[in-house]
């Protein structure tokens, strides 16, 4: 083989200064090794593009599906809940109101479920080669971000059609996106770990996400809940208690944050923002810690 021969002289310099890897059983909680992830950044990009390719390769409409899905679900929900059920929408057109909710929810839902299913979906890769396992869920997050850009485009169309002017609030959107991604990734990583161990979560997860969808102010404003609570338990401690429970759902603050950034008004309260910042830091830390703690067992179990 002349081709391989030609590179021999240059490459035959194997020296002592090669890095030595020590393989030994690890124990306890491992820290997030950002350095290693950075070293594998090429693989991260490859895995993310692969995710996208796999999803769109054999579809005729490709990316159009994402747009279509967004449009159709917004229309259905706007008609049912806006026109027929006449739910309040903080004085905004229903289509715009619901679309913004979907923009946030799709990002949250996409990241959570992609991350949660990432390890099972790549068992073939995991059991054959070594690389930092965290790359797989992270690549999933990256590919969801591409989808997000597309649905953001749909949102822009809605805003334009309903003549909603953008305000300086939009500058806060990346911040709320970041919160959404951190929270969703944290939850997703815990679910991914559980998924490997207990296949029950494969079935339970869509159901749990659906419950969360209806518990979040996506098709209704959170003011609707708080208003209702105050009429039900007038001046009762119970009202604030239930209100507190409602805002414990991290998605509430995220959706309201998106609305505040894009539509200029919403039922966002400072308490929601503060609790979501705490949620983001805590859940992401817990998620990565749990994942890193159990990743070494994945291969033996998957």
């Amino acid at each position: 083989m002349p081709a391989s021969e030609s590179i021999l002289p240059a490459k035959s310099t194997i020296t002592n200064d090669l890095p030595i890897t020590t393989i030994k059983p690890s124990s306890g909680w491992a820290a997030l090794n950002l350095r290693e992830i950075w070293d594998y950044r090429d693989l991260l990009v490859t895995l993310a593009t692969r995710d996208l390719k796999i999803r769109y390769k054999q579809t005729v409409l490709g990316v159009l599906w994402v747009i279509l899905q967004q449009f159709v679900s917004v229309l259905i929900f706007a008609v049912i809940f806006g026109v027929f059920a006449q739910l309040p929408s903080d004085g905004l057109p229903h289509a715009v109101f619901i679309n913004t909710g979907f923009l946030c929810w799709n990002l949250f839902n996409g990241v959570t479920s992609r991350v949660a299913n990432s390890m099972l979906g790549n068992s073939n890769l995991i059991s054959k080669v070594y690389f930092p396992r965290l790359l797989i869920p992270l690549a999933g997050v990256m590919s969801v971000l591409i989808d997000f850009v597309i649905t953001a485009g749909v949102t822009a169309v809605f805003l334009f059609a309903f003549k909603i002017p953008l305000t300086l609030n939009i500058l806060a959107l990346p911040f709320f996106m970041l919160l959404t991604i951190l929270i969703a990734t944290g939850i997703g990583l815990v679910l991914a770990t559980l998924n490997v161990q207990y296949r029950d979560f494969v079935y339970a997860m869509p159901f749990m996400l659906q419950v969360l969808f209806y518990a979040s102010p996506i098709i209704f404003p959170s003011s609707m809940i708080t208003d209702k609570l105050s009429t039900l338990f007038a001046e009762n401690a119970l009202a604030s208690w239930f209100g507190f429970l409602f805002t414990l759902n991290p998605v509430v603050g995220l959706v309201e944050g998106f609305r505040w950034s894009l539509l200029g008004k919403s039922s966002l309260t400072p308490a929601m923002v503060i609790s979501d910042i705490i949620f983001a830091i805590a859940l992401f830390a817990i998620g990565t810690a749990v994942f890193r703690r159990f990743e070494r067992r994945f291969v033996d179990v998957i």
């Binding site: 796999i54 070494r296 291969v299």
Partner: protein
């Protein structure tokens, strides 16, 4: 200078006792099982409840130590379940050891089973880049080797086709090409060459030789003893997760073969490994012995001597008649060289019956070499009761005759059958 240094490497798996009382290897569980287990223990053995869940450990690797120098080519042999693949997995960092440690100098390119780290949806081209980045290479470095990899793998035409449409041969060729050309300092190859055709196998072995000449280390697992002999000067024999022998290849293989021929195959040996044992199971071989005329079980048979195959069977479900086939395979290529088939009985056999029969090959004119054996028990070709494929020691033929008495060079026997030939009418 060492390339791989393993020190008391161990890998244990936990075998759980499930609620239903089954033993299962630590695999995925369902919440239901775990809840059931907790509930059951709480009711039936409350005293056990606070103790650790009952489990026993299965050691796939146990205190494995060795040192491999840089540029060495080392073969690893052993029966299925001896821990060879687990060792390679630990050294490639796919799974973590449970004890001990190993030091590895440089990058490890591993080719474990077919299609290491390939993604079916991606094209050959994309997979080459992905594998390169898994090895920690930058795009530029991969580009340098791209043409070489494609040329070696012979898949030029299909390089932009998703690899899921590749034939298993193409898949394997590309996988090998990627692993061997991306210049890892250590190349780990697990029993994969059996997939490709003969010409490609040769090419791969040649490449592995090249790789070692560049000062890279090669670790090679195979059941093909002839390949190991040809490629690896040093060989490690593993048994039940331990290194039992480490040394000169010819010595290690001879000892291994002797050991395999002494261990008997019964109705349950390797029954879960479809590569070695298949069939519907109504009847199973309960004993396989290859003997000479005197009834001994030699490691080597003299060329041209009589081979007696003493085969026993056990009936597990009623059947009508049994036929048996013995196939000799080529030690080099694994191809079937010849076969003999006999109807053992045509009568109806009831469950629980056992029997023994002998198939004799008088004056088997096989040239010196290694012949893996394949035994078949069944009714018709498409209904095998039992297939024992390469589970027993291969038939080893040698000759004590000198070159003058033979029509070939005994040190380099070529071909399989020794056929008679005479020089006549010399003019």
């Amino acid at each position: 200078m060492f390339s791989i240094r393993a020190h008391n490497l161990s890998k244990a798996y936990r075998i759980y006792h499930t609620a239903t009382g089954d033993r299962q290897l630590h695999t995925y569980r369902t919440l239901r099982e775990d809840i059931m287990w907790i509930a059951k223990t709480a009711v039936t053995r409350p005293s056990d409840f606070f103790q650790k869940r009952t489990s026993e450990m299965f050691y796939a690797l146990r205190d494995v130590s060795f040192e491999i120098g840089q540029g060495e080519v080392v073969g690893i042999i052993g029966r299925n379940g001896a821990g060879k693949s687990t060792l390679l997995k630990v050294l490639s960092r796919i799974t973590e050891p449970s004890g001990g440690s190993a030091e590895i100098r440089g990058r490890v390119g591993s080719l474990l089973e077919v299609g290491t780290g390939f993604s079916g949806e991606l094209t050959g081209r994309e997979n080459i880049y992905m594998n390169g980045s898994i090895l920690g290479m930058r795009r530029k470095e991969i580009q340098r080797h791209f043409d070489e990899i494609v040329a070696f793998s012979e898949v030029e035409q299909f390089i932009d086709t998703p690899v899921k449409r590749y034939s298993s041969g193409m898949y394997m060729r590309l996988a090998f090409a990627v692993a061997a050309h991306l210049e890892p300092e250590i190349l780990i190859v697990d029993e994969v060459l059996a997939v490709g055709d003969l010409a490609f196998q040769k090419k791969c072995l040649g490449k592995m030789d090249d790789v070692s000449k560049q000062g890279r280390t090669v670790l090679f697992v195979s059941h093909n003893m002839q390949t190991i002999r040809a490629l690896c000067p040093r060989c490690i024999l593993m048994k039940q997760g331990k290194v039992v022998l480490d040394g000169d290849t010819n010595t290690v293989i001879d000892i291994y073969n002797r050991e395999v021929s002494q261990s008997d195959v019964d109705a349950r040996t390797a029954i879960t490994d479809s590569r070695l044992r298949r069939g519907s199971g109504e009847v199973r071989f309960s004993g396989i012995h290859v003997k000479d005329v005197a009834g001994n079980k030699p490691t080597f048979f003299e060329m041209g001597s009589t081979l007696r195959f003493e085969l026993s069977y056990e009936v597990f479900a009623p059947v009508q008649g049994i036929s048996a086939t013995i196939v000799l395979k080529s030690g080099r290529s694994g191809e079937m060289v010849t076969s003999v088939k006999h109807v053992v009985t045509e009568r109806r056999l009831a469950a629980g019956e056992t029997g023994t029969f002998v198939i004799e090959l008088p004056k088997a004119n096989l040239r010196p070499g290694e012949y893996p054996l394949y035994f078949w028990l069944g009714k018709s070709t498409n209904h095998p009761y039992d297939v024992v494929d390469g589970l027993t020691a291969p038939l080893m033929i040698q000759t004590e005759k000198s070159a003058d008495e033979l029509s070939f060079d005994p040190s380099k026997p070529f071909g399989i059958f020794d056929i008679e030939s005479y020089l006549k009418d010399e003019r």
